[in-house]
C-alpha cells in the first residue's frame, strides 16, 4: 500500500469491499470496466499484505478477509444481537406505561395471554424487574422498568414517554376510535405461542 492507488484500483477495491460474495475478474469487469485487472489485483493484494484486512484469491475469485492471526479478536459467538419478539415488545411497553403492573393486568391490557418466557426475556435483558407484590388476594408479583431500561431507550424519566396524544399525532394509534377508550379492554384470549 505504498503507492497511491489509481482510480481503476480504487474502483476494484471498493467493488470488492461491498461485494456480497467473492468476485471473479470477469464479474469485477462488469463494474469497473476495462483495465489491467491482473496487475491491479496483485498490486492491491500487495498493499493489503500485513494489514488487519487482506485481499485474497480463492479458486479464481477475490475477496477481502480479516488476517488469520486476528481470529481470536473477532471470534464469533453463537449468540447474536436479537430483536425482541412482538409479544415481548408489547409487554415491555405496557410495563413502561402502566408500572407497576401484575401479569394479570398486562394480560388485561394486551388482550392476550403473556407467555411464561416473555417476562423472563425482559428481565434477562435487564429492562424489567420485580417490584414487590400487590396487596390483593393471591398477592401477585408486580413488575416495573429498571434504570437500564431508561438508559437503553434514551429516556431521562418515564415521563418522557410520548403520551396518547403524541402517539395519535404521530399516526401510531390509527385504526381505532379512541372515543371508545373508556370502555376498557376486552380480552381476546388467543395464545402467544410464537413466544413460548
Amino acid at each position: 500500500m505504498n503507492s497511491e492507488p489509481d482510480d481503476y484500483m480504487r474502483a476494484i477495491e471498493a467493488a470488492l469491499f461491498v461485494a456480497e460474495a467473492p468476485m471473479s475478474p470477469a464479474e469485477l469487469k462488469l463494474h469497473v470496466g476495462d483495465g489491467d485487472m491482473a496487475a491491479a489485483l496483485a498490486s492491491l493484494a500487495d498493499a493489503y499484505a500485513g494489514r488487519g484486512v487482506n485481499l485474497v484469491e480463492r479458486g479464481g475469485r477475490w475477496h477481502f478477509q480479516t488476517a488469520p492471526d486476528l481470529a481470536h479478536i473477532l471470534r464469533r459467538e453463537k449468540d447474536e444481537p436479537r430483536k425482541l419478539s412482538r409479544a415481548a415488545m408489547e409487554t415491555l411497553a405496557i410495563i413502561a406505561y402502566h408500572e407497576p403492573v401484575s401479569r394479570a393486568e398486562i394480560e388485561a391490557i394486551r388482550g392476550v395471554q403473556v407467555a411464561k418466557g416473555t417476562l423472563d426475556v425482559l428481565m434477562e435483558a435487564g429492562w424489567v424487574r420485580p417490584a414487590g407484590r400487590r396487596e390483593v388476594p393471591g398477592r401477585p408479583l408486580i413488575y416495573a422498568t429498571s434504570v437500564d431500561f431508561l438508559s437503553h431507550f434514551g429516556l431521562s424519566s418515564r415521563r418522557d414517554l410520548p403520551g396518547l396524544e403524541d402517539l395519535r399525532a404521530a399516526g401510531l394509534l390509527d385504526p381505532v376510535d379512541l372515543a371508545l377508550e373508556a370502555m376498557g379492554g376486552q380480552s381476546v384470549l388467543e395464545n402467544d405461542e410464537e413466544e413460548a
Partner: protein, 261 residues
C-alpha cells in the same frame, strides 16, 4: 444566499411564472406560495417588497378564482389578511393601528426568510453523500460478537409503536347503534289503519299522528305514517288525495264501490 443562486437548485416552476396559474397542488399552503412568488422578485429575501408581494398574491388568488379553481380556506384567509395588510400599509401613518403594519410585514418577511433557509438547508442535506446512495458500507459484514449472551435490541420507536398498536388493537370495536326515537312502519300501519276507519271524510295526514311528539320523533312519525298510508292505499283500505305538490295530503277510509277521485 441570493434568489438567483437558489433558483438553480430549485425546480423550474419558480423560474416560470406562468406555471403559477396551473395548479394549487404544488404548494404546501399559502406561505409556500408566497415564498415562490417572493423568489420571482429575484432579489434577496431581506430586500423583498412585501407590498409588491402582497399585490402579486392577491392578483394570483384573483386569477385562480376566475379560473374557478377550488381554493382551500387557508389561501383565502391569507388573501384576506394580506388585503388588510396592504390597505394598512397604504394608510397615512397617523391612522395606523397597533401592531403597526410595518411590523406585520416584517414578521411575514422573517417567516419567509426562515422557511427559505430551511428549504435550502434541506436541499443541501439531501445532496450530501448518503449511505446507500453515494457511499456504501459492506453489504454482508461477518459481524463481531459483542457479548456472550443474547443482546436484546429494541428502539424507543419500537416501544412506542408497540404501545400504540396495543391501544389501537385492544380497544373493543363496539359499534353502538344509537337508539333513535322513531315510529316504525308497523306501528304506523297499525295506527293509521285503526284511525282511518273513524275518519269518513277527508282528513289531513297530520291528524293521524300521536299528539305532543317532539322532534325528531315527530318527523319520523310523519314519514312512517305517509308510507303506512301508501301501503294501506295499496291494500285498498283507504284513499289518498293531494291537490298539488307540497299541498296537504288527505286520507279517508275506502268505501267499497266508491272510486277514489
Amino acid at each position: 444566499m441570493s434568489a438567483d443562486q437558489f433558483a438553480q437548485d430549485e425546480d423550474s416552476r419558480a423560474a416560470r411564472p406562468e406555471m403559477l396559474t396551473v395548479s394549487f397542488d404544488h404548494w404546501e399552503g399559502p406561505l409556500d406560495l408566497l415564498l415562490t412568488l417572493a423568489r420571482n422578485q429575484k432579489v434577496d429575501l431581506r430586500e423583498i417588497s412585501i407590498l409588491a408581494l402582497t399585490q402579486q398574491y392577491l392578483a394570483f388568488i384573483e386569477g385562480a378564482r376566475q379560473l374557478k379553481l377550488e381554493l382551500a380556506a387557508d389561501y383565502l384567509v391569507m388573501a384576506a389578511w394580506l388585503a388588510y395588510l396592504k390597505s394598512s400599509l397604504l394608510l397615512p401613518r397617523a391612522e395606523q393601528p397597533d401592531p403597526s403594519p410595518e411590523e406585520l410585514a416584517l414578521r411575514l418577511q422573517l417567516r419567509l426568510q426562515r422557511l427559505h433557509a430551511m428549504r435550502d438547508a434541506s436541499a443541501r442535506l439531501m445532496a450530501r453523500d448518503r449511505i446507500g446512495r453515494d457511499v456504501f458500507r459492506r453489504r454482508r459484514p461477518e459481524g463481531l460478537a459483542l457479548v456472550k449472551k443474547a443482546q436484546w435490541q429494541a428502539s424507543l420507536y419500537d416501544l412506542i409503536q408497540a404501545y400504540g398498536q396495543i391501544r389501537a388493537r385492544t380497544q373493543p370495536v363496539v359499534h353502538t347503534i344509537a337508539v333513535r326515537p322513531v315510529m316504525t312502519l308497523d306501528e304506523a300501519i297499525q295506527r293509521v289503519g285503526a284511525l282511518v276507519g273513524a275518519a269518513l271524510d277527508w282528513t289531513r295526514l297530520e291528524a293521524f299522528l300521536p299528539a305532543g311528539l317532539e322532534q325528531p320523533k315527530a318527523k319520523s312519525a310523519l314519514a312512517s305514517s305517509f308510507v303506512a298510508a301508501l301501503e294501506l292505499a295499496r291494500q285498498g283500505r283507504l284513499d289518498i288525495q293531494q291537490d298539488g305538490i307540497f299541498q296537504p295530503i288527505y286520507l279517508r277510509a275506502a268505501v267499497p264501490g266508491r272510486m277514489a277521485p
